[in-house]
Structure formats: structure tokens, C-alpha cells
């Protein structure tokens, strides 16, 4: 059974290469996108941390900034 699945009637090399390439492309794209997201979140958190009290209050008044900060704290 397992040998049949691996050999695929002699087409195993083609089938497994096609599926492996697809899954590897998925994994690469996912991790690259995730890294970019984490990098931007960290940049946002460090910029926010360096704001003066007054500027931080202004920035915090925007809902989206609060959301980004709450997500960053989960990293």
C-alpha cells in the first residue's frame, strides 16, 4: 500500500515533486509574510514607546493604534 502511494505507478517522482514544490512555496510565503508583519508591529511598538506623553495620548486616541498595540503585546 505505502509502496504504491510512493511509486504512483512510476509517476511518483513527478507527483511528489509537484506537491512538495507547492507546499514549500506555501510555507515560504507564509513565513516571509509573517516575518514582515512581526517586523512592522515591533517597529510600531518601539516608535510608540519613544513618543512624548502628549503625542502618545494623541496617538492612543485612534482606535487602530490601540488595536496594533494590543496585537503587538501578543508577540
Amino acid at each position: 500500500m505505502i509502496n504504491e502511494i510512493i511509486s504512483m505507478n512510476g509517476y511518483g517522482a513527478y507527483v511528489w515533486t509537484a506537491f512538495s514544490f507547492t507546499l514549500m512555496s506555501f510555507a515560504t510565503l507564509y513565513f516571509v509574510t509573517k516575518l514582515q508583519l512581526l517586523k512592522e508591529q515591533k517597529r510600531f511598538a518601539s516608535k510608540f514607546g519613544s513618543l512624548t506623553l502628549e503625542k502618545a495620548r494623541t496617538a492612543r486616541s485612534q482606535n487602530i493604534n490601540k488595536e496594533i498595540l494590543s496585537n503587538t503585546s501578543n508577540i
Binding site: G10, Y14, V15, Y30
Partner: protein
């Protein structure tokens, strides 16, 4: 209508949706791979080589669908001057490009045992390669140009020009003699593919669509944070 495209509302939705979409993608992909690699029957002519169809066809469909959306959002950004449309199209492009590459590579792998060649300048393959070039130009333009107004114009033009290629890809098998067969799946008329192969194809298409949605959500959030980072600089 555009109140639903306000960035703070969308950011909350896209942040929450990511984990659910990832979970759903893993479940659907597992079922799809089991169906495609183990449960679906072999073809009477192509034998097990037909299983490559379950990654090749969904990848091609989704790359075409994404490019069509890219063009529509680009037109939308021109007409409605909505900056969110620009962010949406920019976030869609990377997964569309990857699916285009997957379609080309898996097609090439499938071509060797069925046609006896890795590559042929067949109408459909060539038009898919042109689509990859349009995706490449679109993504490169965002990296090369720094002037925001200019890059939006350039990328929109690339998307709108490139979408002319989409019907060419679709109808290339009818207009020219190509190695590819004519469409086996038709929404409006009879489908010539057997149900035992149609089900895994449908499941794999759903899995690929979920993956492109996941990448879109992550990329869109990244773009929104970039905008907000610039907003902090201006404070």
C-alpha cells in the same frame, strides 16, 4: 458604502480572522491532500500523473482570479480615489504571483510524463508566463518607486493592462491549437470531468483560496501598520 472600508474596523476584522482562516486552511488542505493523493482514482490514460492536476489547476484558477481582482481594485482606486483599494490590491499581489509560479512549475512537471517535454511555447503556457511577468512588474514597481502617487498610477496601469491577458489565457485553448485540452469544467454547461476527480479538485481549490485569503489578511495588516508607522512619524 465606504464606511465599511475604514481602516480601524478592517484591522480588527483582519486580525481576528487570521487564526480562524489558518485553522480552516489546515483542515481543508489535509482533507484535500488525502483525497488528491490517496482516495481519488488514477486516470485511464495518464495513470497517477493526473494527480498533479489537483495542485496545477487550482493554482492557475486562483492566480487568474487574484489578477482580475487586482485590476478591479485598481480601477476602483482610480474612480473612487479610495486608498484602501490600493492597499487591498497591493496585499493581493504576492499570493497571486506565487500561485502563478506554482501553476507554471507544476505544469512543467506534469508536461514531462504526458507530453514528453518540460516546456513548450504553447498559447496557454506562454500567456500564463506573460501573466507572471505582469505580476513581477507590479511587485517590482512597489519596490522601485518611492513616490506614492506615482507608484499607485504605475501599478494600476500594470494591473489594468495585464488584465487584457486574462481572457486570452481562458480562451487560448479555443482560439489556437494548443497542447492543452479545452475546458473540462464549465459553469453553464456540462462538466466532462468525473465526480470522483471533481470533488478533490474542488476541495484543493477551496484550500488554495483559503491560503490566499490568509496571506492577504496578513499582508493587509502589515500595510495598515506601515501607514500607521508613518502617521506616528508625523505626530
Amino acid at each position: 458604502m465606504f464606511k465599511y472600508f475604514k481602516s480601524n474596523k478592517i484591522f480588527v476584522i483582519t486580525s481576528i480572522a487570521q487564526k480562524y482562516v489558518l485553522f480552516l486552511f489546515i483542515v481543508v488542505l489535509t482533507i484535500g491532500l488525502t483525497e488528491a493523493l490517496i482516495l481519488s482514482p488514477e486516470d485511464y490514460k495518464q495513470s497517477d500523473a493526473v494527480r498533479i492536476m489537483y495542485v496545477h489547476v487550482p493554482a492557475a484558477w486562483i492566480s487568474l482570479g487574484i489578477f482580475l481582482s487586482l485590476a478591479l481594485f485598481s480601477v476602483g482606486s482610480f474612480v473612487f480615489k479610495n486608498k484602501n483599494f490600493v492597499l487591498i490590491s497591493k496585499s493581493l499581489a504576492p499570493s497571486g504571483f506565487i500561485f502563478n509560479i506554482i501553476a507554471l512549475v507544476t505544469g512543467s512537471i506534469w508536461g514531462k510524463p504526458t507530453w514528453g517535454t518540460w516546456w513548450a511555447w504553447d498559447a496557454r503556457i506562454t500567456s500564463m508566463l506573460i501573466l507572471a511577468l505582469f505580476y513581477g512588474m507590479y511587485l517590482l514597481a512597489w519596490r522601485i518607486y518611492e513616490d506614492k502617487e506615482y507608484v499607485v498610477k504605475v501599478t494600476s496601469m500594470i494591473a489594468i493592462l495585464g488584465v487584457i491577458n486574462v481572457p486570452i489565457i481562458k480562451f487560448s485553448v479555443d482560439w489556437w491549437n494548443t497542447l492543452h485540452q479545452t475546458a473540462s469544467i464549465n459553469i453553464l454547461s456540462n462538466t466532462s470531468i468525473h465526480i470522483s476527480m471533481l470533488i478533490p479538485l474542488g476541495i484543493m481549490t477551496a484550500a488554495f483560496a483559503l491560503f490566499s485569503l490568509l496571506i492577504f489578511l496578513m499582508k493587509y495588516n502589515t500595510e495598515l501598520i506601515k501607514v500607521k508607522n508613518k502617521g506616528l512619524d508625523r505626530l
